[in-house]
């Protein structure tokens, strides 16, 4: 597995309204990647994004989320990729920013690029919020790229582990992560930290 090539900055955007902020961050890095998913794919045709791509930014979006939202490929726009691209970005970047529509995470990752990184996926919303399903789907991709996932359930998401009455995509992701041996951790407070190399909050 490729693990040697480091990336300076990887930015996850799941909120189209935060594209400008993400592009500002990328503009200050020599080697940056942007991954758009969930509602972030609605920014795919933004002229600012196309200008950044013209200037050398590597931008990819989740093809499945784009299809679900009627976002079509466009010449000069972001590449239509998958959660695999997202996970590789998180696995390889020395700095990982996660902008998913709530808390923003800015991680300077000390662990070397490659498999084995420990990612805390912090769930900050009610369990029935559609972004929880998206978060868990991305966590499955992290697991597939051989990172160690710790699903951190904050108080608003507590129902996630309290019962099994969840939509099929959520149950499938939970089942997959459990079957692969990844951890779940319920915390009493949003400020409770867990041991990890980086955090991605949803």
């Amino acid at each position: 597995m490729s693990g040697a090539v480091a990336l300076e900055l990887g930015v996850l955007v799941a909120d189209a309204g935060q594209l400008g902020r993400a592009l500002d961050l990328c503009a200050h890095a020599d080697d940056a990647q942007l991954f758009l998913m969930d509602d972030g794919v609605r920014a795919a045709h933004e002229p600012r994004l196309r200008a950044a791509i013209d200037d050398g930014l590597e931008a990819t979006l989740c093809a499945m989320d784009a299809e679900a939202r009627g976002v079509a490929p466009v010449d000069g726009g972001p590449r239509f990729g998958s959660q695999f691209d997202h996970a590789v970005m998180v696995r390889q970047a020395r700095r990982v920013m996660a902008i998913t529509g709530g808390r923003i995470d800015d991680n300077d990752v000390l662990a070397p690029p490659g498999p084995g990184r420990r990612v805390a996926l912090r769930l900050t919303r009610p369990a029935d919020d559609p972004k929880i399903a998206q978060a868990l789907r991305s966590a499955v991709a992290y697991a597939a790229c051989e990172m160690a996932v710790i699903v951190v359930v904050e108080p608003p998401a507590r129902a996630l582990l309290a019962h099994e009455d969840h939509p099929a995509p959520v149950l499938r992701a939970l089942g997959t992560l459990r079957a692969l041996g990844h951890r779940f951790c319920e915390v009493a407070s949003t400020s409770t930290r867990v041991r990890c190399d980086l955090e991605v909050s949803w």
Binding site: F80, S82, P115, V140, A144, E146, T176
Partner: protein, 82 residues
Amino acid sequence: MTVETLDLAGEVCPYTFVRAKLRLEELPLGARLEVLVDHAAAADNVPRALRDEGQEIVSVAREAARWRIVVVKRADPSLRQG
């Protein structure tokens, strides 16, 4: 040589490459796996994911409404924790 087929028709990302990697885990080095997908994005993404893993992609061929990805196992995936 062992030849296995994994039909992923109807499967969505990221479970396409998760299931392909899990199947490869069970096979011996040198085994040949034929993965069938029916989503254009998967025909691109699954081979990239497996190549990144160190597997050999022999071919990706379109067959009517699906794609056949032929892989030879060259590395041992390790998806399970602990």
